[in-house]
């Protein structure tokens, strides 16, 4: 059920993000979702891509530092309070949300949210018990 996410270290200098995403394009890897946040010196780009192995390979070949982690993907209805509900369930279970980001879905009326927590397996179980719909890589990458 877990979704693999790629994290990339990006130095804050003009053109670096273009270079990194360029490597993915050359490798025919499609980006499904991403988030980037930065400090003054560097940013960390987080990606869900069509082919995780290949993406990691082309980036490493280009000398880019890459780390792969498991994150939880949830599908939530496009209604008020839906995301708050998911976060509350995790909070009640003592799961800390390190970061989260949403992306477009092919499924009308829903939003997909990627959530990074300390224990992905535990979080997935709790969410499932609370009738939250989880998405897997097939759905996410569909």
């Amino acid at each position: 059920m877990a979704i693999r996410q790629i994290s990339v270290f990006v130095e804050n200098k003009p053109g670096r993000l273009a270079e990194i995403t360029g490597y993915l394009a050359e490798g025919n890897v499609s980006i499904r979702a991403f988030s980037i946040a930065d400090t003054t010196d560097f940013g960390i780009l987080r990606l869900i891509v069509s082919d995780t192995e290949k993406a990691a390979q082309v980036l490493r070949d280009a000398g880019v530092a890459v780390s792969i982690t498991e994150v939880v993907g949830v599908s939530i209805p496009d209604v008020t309070g839906a995301f708050a509900n998911v976060v509350k369930i995790l909070a009640d279970a003592g799961e800390n949300v390190e970061y989260a980001y949403a992306f477009l879905t092919p499924e009308a009326g829903h939003a997909y949210v990627i959530v990074r927590v300390d224990d992905s397996a535990k979080a997935a179980n709790i969410l499932r018990e609370n009738n939250i719909e989880l998405i897997d890589e097939v759905a996410a990458l569909g």
């Binding site: 200098k13 400090t39 960390i44 000398g63 530092a65 390190e98």
Partner: protein, 437 residues
């Protein structure tokens, strides 16, 4: 343990008396026997008779490595070749080698100096000592060799190279002490572990290391790998070779053989003499050398000196382990910073690689130091918090070691330039306008 206890425990007043007498002799000796020094002293308006106190040495201009090179090979020798019995040379990695000649008396003094330092480090006549410095033009091997023989040790001159054979001798002879560079001692330990013999087949108890720097971490590694007690000694071929100073068993500084060498600490930029405990460049004047006497030789090594008595009983001043080279020293907001200090912090941290770059800028009227380090533990990418925590940890450790605040930038792995030879890690932009990127 002492080799020449009377000399090594003289009262300070007696040491100064001997130093003054020998300084006056040496200045006159240089003036009368080395045309280079006659000119240098004449130009500076210094006559041998005008040296009346130890402080008068400050009027003598320092001697540099370039002076030795300009007079290659024998131009600074003070005696005719019939009195020279040995010639050594530096490796010459940064230009023409510097050549030094020894009279029979010089060799005798050298081996006394070395015997003292080896005894201070804990060597005795019962030791079997293997010398794994390369023999040849390099002063290290023969310097230790004659000193250890004079002390009565059984010297095994197996030189460097053919590590497995050296290890065989170490097992079969039950060698108790090792002379090597710290890095070769580590390499030998790694090789020993790969062989089929247990480490209990080796009997090393003492390491006499020198000829290159050794961080405390590296020393601990060597001691753990071999189960020995490691000591450091210092010298350079221009001055004689090893034997200028060395650690006693207290390991709280390197005792300088002050009856043969007069050490000063100066500001490397202004050459102003600094006080006890202040850090600066070591200048050494040889006090008895006949072959090639040197006045105020600029070692380019950075250290500081204390004259406090040592627990071991020696009254000779102690110098700190060499902190760095004055060529590499940076002065930031009035504080001396050495790349080697920064390296020692980074080597002790696991999440960053030891490759770094230093950028010095002037912002307003204040200097700023930026340390760029490569992230090596990419699992930290999972969390900004962890990277920031790492940044803070490096900043804190740097502040502790350097005494100034600096900016720490984490950069991508493998993006800082690697150097095969002498590394150039400092970018000083203080007198340049910087292009903003």
């Amino acid at each position: 343990m002492f080799f020449q206890k009377d000399a090594e425990t003289m009262p300070r007043a007696k040491i100064r008396e001997i130093q003054l007498e020998r300084l006056r002799y040496t200045v006159r000796y240089c003036y009368e026997n080395v045309p280079f020094y006659k000119k240098k002293l004449d130009d500076a308006g210094v006559t041998p008779d005008s040296i009346k106190t130890l402080d008068d040495i400050r009027r003598i201009p320092p001697t540099t490595k370039a002076d030795l090179r300009d007079n290659y090979p024998f131009g600074l020798f003070a005696v005719p070749m019939k009195n020279i019995v040995r010639i050594h040379a530096s490796s010459g990695t940064t230009g023409k080698p510097t050549v030094v000649g020894y009279t029979a008396h010089d060799l005798d003094m050298w081996s006394d100096c070395m015997a003292r330092l080896c005894a201070a480090a804990g060597a005795t006549a019962d030791d079997i000592v293997q010398i794994s410095f390369g023999y040849g033009m390099f002063t290290g091997a023969l310097g230790l060799h004659y000193g250890l023989e004079k002390l009565g040790c059984a010297v095994v001159p197996n030189s460097s190279g053919n590590t497995e054979k050296a290890l065989m001798y170490m097992r079969d002879f039950k060698t108790t002490a090792l002379v090597a560079t710290p890095s070769y001692a580590l390499y030998m330990a790694e090789t020993a572990k790969k062989l089929e013999y247990p480490m209990s087949d080796y009997h090393l108890r003492l390491g006499l290391f020198g000829s290159e720097g050794c961080t405390p971490e590296m020393r601990t590694q060597i001691e753990t790998a071999w189960g020995l007690f490691a000591t450091d000694n210092y010298g350079m071929s221009e001055l004689m070779g090893p034997g200028v100073s060395g650690e006693c068993e207290e390991r709280c500084g390197l005792h300088i053989n002050e009856d043969y060498f007069l050490a000063e600490i100066v500001d490397p930029n202004t050459l102003e003499v600094l006080g006890e405990g202040e850090t600066g460049e070591v200048l050494i004047t040889t006090l008895t050398k006949e072959g090639i006497p040197l006045l105020r030789y600029r070692t380019r090594d950075i250290s500081r000196i204390t004259y406090e008595p040592c627990k071991c009983g020696r009254t000779f001043a102690r110098m700190d382990k060499i902190k760095g080279r004055s060529d590499d020293m940076l002065k930031i907001r009035g504080v001396n910073v050495f790349p080697s200090q920064i390296e020692s912090v980074l080597v002790g941290m696991q999440d960053v690689s030891p490759h770094y770059q230093l950028i010095v800028r002037r912002e307003g009227f204040a200097d700023t130091l930026e340390i760029r380090v490569e992230l090596s533990d990419i699992s930290l990418l999972e969390s900004y918090g962890k990277i920031e925590e790492l940044q803070n940890r490096i900043r804190h450790n740097m502040h502790t070691v350097l005494g100034i605040q600096c900016k720490v930038s984490i950069v991508e792995p493998n993006t800082i330039e690697r150097f095969v030879g002498k590394a150039k890690r400092v970018v000083d932009l203080r007198n340049q306008t910087e292009e903003k990127s």
